[in-house]
């Protein structure tokens, strides 16, 4: 019997537990701010303080967030020619978090894989007091250091501690000096400092971590410092009454420093505390710092002709410390023109009250991450292909090294984006409507990608300036103002956008893997391939017609009784009535990029009331619903229950939307556990089977507000009081079968991958009550 077996059918009257929802509760967020401002003619100030307190949607004490913030802005006119300002902020926050997503110690992986007759709420055994989960239901005394395979989600919510304690101070000082009427000199010096102290702990008996069952503690401290210096001088000129403009010259220096120190201890001595001192073995500490410096000079000239035609020309020279020594500095030009053709009074008429056409072209550069120009020796651990086993480079008490798999690139330069943007803005129907339309064509050259190398050369990747990409898009917005009265106003806004993305060239590479969220195999990879949108999904598939495939020596496309006459893409059914997995090739079958996005926004004020609403829409954008196919594998879904017993026919009683061909057409087959834990499930079936259309329409927000400013309010010392109630994410219309098509997963590192649904925590619906007391 397989470890993941569905087991026998539950008897009549068996108790069913709500393992899908019982780990969630109604969260509560309170956000209070107070602010004051004032000053004299020469001196002004603004002061505010805030407190945000959040109790999350997961049960237990480890799902909380608290943030305090204070802010001060001040300005002083020192002389008539000199004004100085200061802006200072301090924010401190403390949060506790529950592990989530693709994680055997996380919340939903264990929760949703639990069979319905196992009560997760009883997460500690009544007899031994130890952690029980469905794969380890009866923990005997002495099993406190045994992995549970999956953690009980209640254990995951109550027992481990994962915290973040952030302090952040940021602000700047500014000076504006106007020595003569035509010249202005601006200076600003800003800094942003933050420190994040983190704890991540894996308790005894937890299933996750390098030492599953034995516990683990990770302590990390991360510090970010950014210093920004900006100096610019702007001169105004007036050649004639109708020809004037500005000339600006400036310099910008920027430094971003990052520092991380982290320690990991394995094998807890006692169950608590979660402290490195309570661990038996410690990994060599991680000690990382990086600094990225940017040095730019820029100049810009503007011309204003007849107050109708505005021209801007700019040129900047940027230097990045992350580029190779030979390509350290680069030039980026920019230019724009706009013509307000209805600026002259008298030219307006009822239909058209305002008109502007605009066009702009600009180039900008993107820098790679630090230190990619050198090949290094790595002291990182050796992972066994992604299956979990790991050997540290410290063995027998001595530390080892291995040449990094990434070949340094001393010629690395900027990724350059050139964008041409054109459009117009119109005021229509005596300003009862305005319309904006923008078209852009963006071309990226020298795109920085992890270029795959032939492993036989000694390295697997190199960060290179390869690739040309193109983004072509349209954006349109129409705002209507049907009511513009004293007592009532009503606005309706419609917006729509679409973007088409295409990879034009990859310098000969077949493809570059952008993201493989769960490694390879039965899981899809987001790739870059010539002629395709960036990040299109590459996945395994079943044998299908029209691909020139051969099955057991039969060229199926040319053979009658197989695919001959069948439409391309038809699912090929073998003689046993079941599809076959294509073990040779992978296909581009899904794309997370939407066809278009749009929405409707409306706002109505009537006397003291305001009503608002926002509806969001997305058309297209495929989502890989691995949650569904994983739960099918474990037999936890209505789908797996329905096809558990009996026989079904592909293309008819099972997956009726699939067109089918081949010798097995019309043959009834048993599905059940064999199918869902095999080709029909997430682990051993092709990834293509889990793609779904992610189109949706979402009622994003509805709100109602009331402004109370009667005599009574003034008598108690306020000028007015505002009440507002809003509901967010109220309803979603979609054919998507998962929790929410708007989902994404965080991969290793920081990149967020759209359209991957794998036990992600759901989006929340919220109701917001606001009370503002204004004096």
């Amino acid at each position: 019997v397989a470890a993941g077996s569905w087991g026998p059918r539950l008897g009549q009257g068996a108790t069913a537990y709500d393992n899908r929802d019982n780990i969630f509760q109604t969260g509560l967020v309170s956000d209070n701010t107070i602010s004051a401002s004032g000053g004299t003619e020469r001196t002004t100030f603004f002061l505010s303080a805030g407190l945000l307190d959040q109790r999350g949607i997961v049960v237990g004490p480890n799902n909380e967030f608290e943030r305090y913030s204070v802010r001060f802005n001040g300005g002083h006119q020192v002389f008539n020619t000199l004004r100085v300002g200061v802006n200072a902020n301090y924010v401190t926050s403390q949060g506790a978090f529950v592990q989530s997503r693709n994680n055997v110690g996380g919340l939903l992986l264990g929760a949703w894989r639990t069979p319905v007759d196992f009560n997760n709420e009883e997460y500690l055994s009544a007899t031994s007091g130890l952690h029980r989960s469905y794969r380890f239901p009866n923990p005997a005394a002495g099993s406190e250091r045994t992995t549970r395979r999956y953690d009980n989600p209640f254990f995951a919510a109550y027992v481990p501690r994962a915290t973040s304690d952030v302090g952040r101070a940021f602000g700047n000082i500014t000076a504006e000096y106007i020595p003569t009427s035509w010249l202005r000199v601006n200076y600003s010096l800003g800094s942003d400092f933050s420190n994040d102290e983190r704890l991540e702990s894996t308790p005894l008996s937890s299933s996750t971590g390098a030492t599953a069952g034995q516990g683990q503690v990770i302590r990390a401290s991360m510090r970010n410092v950014q210093i920004d210096h900006n100096l610019s001088a702007t001169g105004n000129y007036t050649l004639t009454e109708n020809v004037r403009g500005t000339v600006t010259l400036g310099q910008n220096l920027n430094a971003q420093q990052f520092r991380q120190q982290a320690g990991q201890g394995n094998v807890l001595v006692a169950a608590e505390p979660y402290n490195l001192g309570n661990t038996s073995t410690q990994q060599p500490p991680s000690d990382l710092r990086s600094e990225v410096r940017i040095e730019s000079y820029f100049g810009q000239a503007t011309v204003d002709l007849f107050e109708q035609l505005f021209l801007t020309l700019a040129l900047r020279n940027d230097g990045f410390s992350t580029f190779g020594a030979n390509s350290r500095r680069a030039w980026f030009p920019k230019g724009s023109a706009s013509w307000s053709f209805l600026r002259e009074p008298g030219m307006t008429n009822g239909m058209l009250t305002f008109g502007k056409v605009r066009a702009a072209y600009g180039q900008s550069g993107t820098s790679p991450t630090a230190y990619q120009t050198q090949t290094v020796f790595s002291s990182g651990s050796f992972f066994e292909g992604g299956w979990g086993p790991t050997l540290g480079t410290q063995q027998n008490g001595v530390r080892g090294l291995a040449t990094s798999t990434t070949l340094g690139n001393p010629d690395l330069g900027p990724e350059r984006v050139g964008e041409l943007e054109m459009g117009f803005d119109l005021g229509l129907l005596r300003d009862r409507a305005d319309l904006t339309l923008t078209h852009y064509r963006q071309k990226t050259t020298d795109a920085i990608l992890q270029f795959p190398l032939q492993a036989a050369g000694g390295y697997t990747t190199q960060l290179r300036n390869v690739g040309e990409l193109e983004n072509i898009g349209w954006e349109a917005a129409l705002n209507l103002h049907p009511l513009r009265g004293q007592r009532a106003t009503w606005d309706v806004g419609l917006f729509w956008s679409r973007n088409r993305n295409k990879v034009l060239s990859l310098q000969g590479a077949a493809q570059v893997v952008l993201n493989a969220p769960f490694g390879t195999g039965s899981f899809p990879q987001a790739i870059v391939r010539e002629g395709q949108p960036m990040g299109i999904w590459l996945s395994d598939d079943f044998i299908r017609c029209g691909r020139g495939l051969t099955v057991s020596g039969v060229q199926i496309d040319q053979t009658s009784g197989h695919c001959q006459g069948a439409p391309a893409g038809a699912l090929y059914l073998g003689a046993d009535g079941l599809p076959l997995r294509d073990q040779e090739d992978q296909y581009l079958l899904a794309d997370a990029n939407p066809d278009w996005q749009g929405g409707v926004r409306t706002n109505l004020t009537w006397r003291k009331f305001t009503f608002g609403g926002l509806l969001d829409m997305r058309r297209g954008g495929d989502v890989w619903n691995g949650t569904r196919t994983a739960l099918n594998h474990f037999g936890r879904t209505a789908e797996s229950a329905r096809f558990r017993e009996g026989t079904f026919t592909f293309g008819e009683t099972y997956v009726p939307d699939e067109r089918v061909a081949g010798p097995g057409v019309g043959k009834a087959v048993a599905l059940g556990e064999g199918w869902f834990s095999g080709l029909g499930g997430v682990f051993n079936g092709p990834a293509s089977f889990a793609f779904e259309d992610g189109s949706f329409m979402k009622l994003r927000e509805l709100s109602v507000g009331y402004l109370w400013d009667t005599q009574t309010v003034r008598r108690i010392g306020f000028s007015n009081v505002e009440f507002r109630v809003a509901g967010r994410n109220l309803y979603t219309w979609t054919d998507y079968t998962g929790v929410d098509p708007e989902t994404s997963v965080q991969s290793a590192g920081t990149s967020v991958i759209r359209g991957v649904d794998y036990f992600n925590n759901p989006q929340t619906r919220s109701f917001v009550f606001t009370l503002s007391l204004n004096r």
């Binding site: 350290r328 992604g386 036989a456 073990q583």
Partner: protein
């Protein structure tokens, strides 16, 4: 006052502009990596890395799949149910193919040889050559034709996209491996003050604690055993290889104490890779075929007691069921990556480091 401020501002602008220049963008920690070693003339750290990386390679997925195909173990959960019925995808072996060549594999085996020879250390170079032959011979056995003579041509100063290593015929690779082993034996025959090998810095993990002279002896034996193994791999295409194998084996590993075993300690990040997989992921169980075979041998009196069954499958009862999910015993963490080990094991292969993180799924 007005004039003075203007002068100060101008002076500030001028000084910042001058101070900036290119020195702002370069220097240690700015355009030079402050976190990693970029220069190395000591082969010892690389040798530790090489042995460890090859332990993940030889004890990992390729071995598991081979063991499933020969029914020594059975895949019973998640992806391993698929592998158990011969499901495989082109990308499944990518990390292990890469592990043959990248850092921790052939690349570092060669670098160790270069660094060692620069120090006049033939012992070290000879040992690294034995490892090179071990890695490459396994790859030829597993994949057939592989790049070897044109391998490892990338460098920072050449454009890697213009370089493509040719795949060499399997027979040629085996012949080259035999030649490498002959050179290794020659290197290991040299004595002298500079031939210190890895023992001085405790970098030898397989034969930890042995002196340079002892390592020369034992690695010469390993080289001969490897020669015998690789002659046997080619024996069916050229039967004269049987005699060569027999001749080489006579000078091969002479005593069980000299077995080429990677030593795993009980420290968690040193545990045997198969052990880690078995106890932490647990998607495989002992295969029925081998248990039945062993039981039949006990029954028919070929094996006198059940010790071997218990040794192979220590938490599995006589029927092949798992009796305990985990014990703290460390006894069986010493695994064989030995050339003298079974055929399945000898055919296993490499590891990936890169940015791969462990995956729950």
């Amino acid at each position: 006052m007005k004039l003075r401020l203007a002068t100060v501002a101008a002076a500030a602008l001028a000084s910042l502009t001058v101070a900036a220049c290119d020195s702002y963008l370069s220097g240690p920690g700015i355009d030079q990596d402050p976190n990693n070693i970029t220069q190395l003339d000591d082969p010892n750290p690389l040798y530790i890395g090489l042995q460890t990386a090859q332990a993940t390679q030889f004890e990992g997925q390729l071995g598991r799949i081979a063991a499933m195909y020969t029914q020594q173990i059975a895949g019973v959960a998640r992806q391993f149910q698929g592998y158990d019925i011969y499901g495989s995808q082109p990308t499944d072996v990518d990390p292990y193919w890469q592990g043959v060549y990248i850092g921790g594999g052939l690349l570092d085996a060669r670098r160790i040889q270069r660094l060692a020879l620069a120090r006049g250390d033939s012992t070290y170079a000879g040992i690294a050559k034995v490892w090179e032959a071990f890695i490459v011979g396994m790859a030829a056995s597993f994949w057939g034709d592989i790049p070897y003579r044109e391998a490892l041509q990338y460098s920072e100063t050449t454009d890697p996209t213009t370089i493509k290593a040719k795949f060499d015929p399997q027979r040629q690779v085996y012949a080259d491996v035999q030649a490498q082993l002959d050179t290794a034996i020659l290197f290991l025959s040299r004595t002298g003050a500079t031939n210190v090998g890895p023992s001085a810095r405790n970098a030898e993990l397989t034969y930890a604690g042995r002196s340079a002279a002892q390592l020369r002896t034992v690695y010469t034996e390993v080289a001969r055993t490897l020669k015998a193994r690789y002659y046997l791999h080619m024996a069916e295409v050229d039967p004269s290889n049987y005699a060569r194998a027999a001749a080489a084996a006579r000078g091969g590993i002479s005593t069980p104490a000299n077995d080429f075993n990677f030593f795993h300690s009980s420290e968690t990040v040193s545990n045997n890779v198969h052990y880690q997989f078995y106890f932490n992921r647990g998607d495989v169980l002992p295969g029925a075929a081998i248990i039945n075979l062993m039981k039949s041998r006990i029954k028919s009196g070929l094996d006198v007691n059940t010790d071997r069954l218990a040794f192979y499958f220590y938490d599995v009862d006589y029927e092949g069921r798992r009796t305990r999910t985990r014990t703290s015993a460390t006894a069986r963490r010493r695994t064989r990556t030995s050339p003298a080990a079974t055929r399945t094991r000898s055919r296993t292969s490499t590891s990936s480091r890169a940015t791969r993180t462990s995956v729950s799924r």
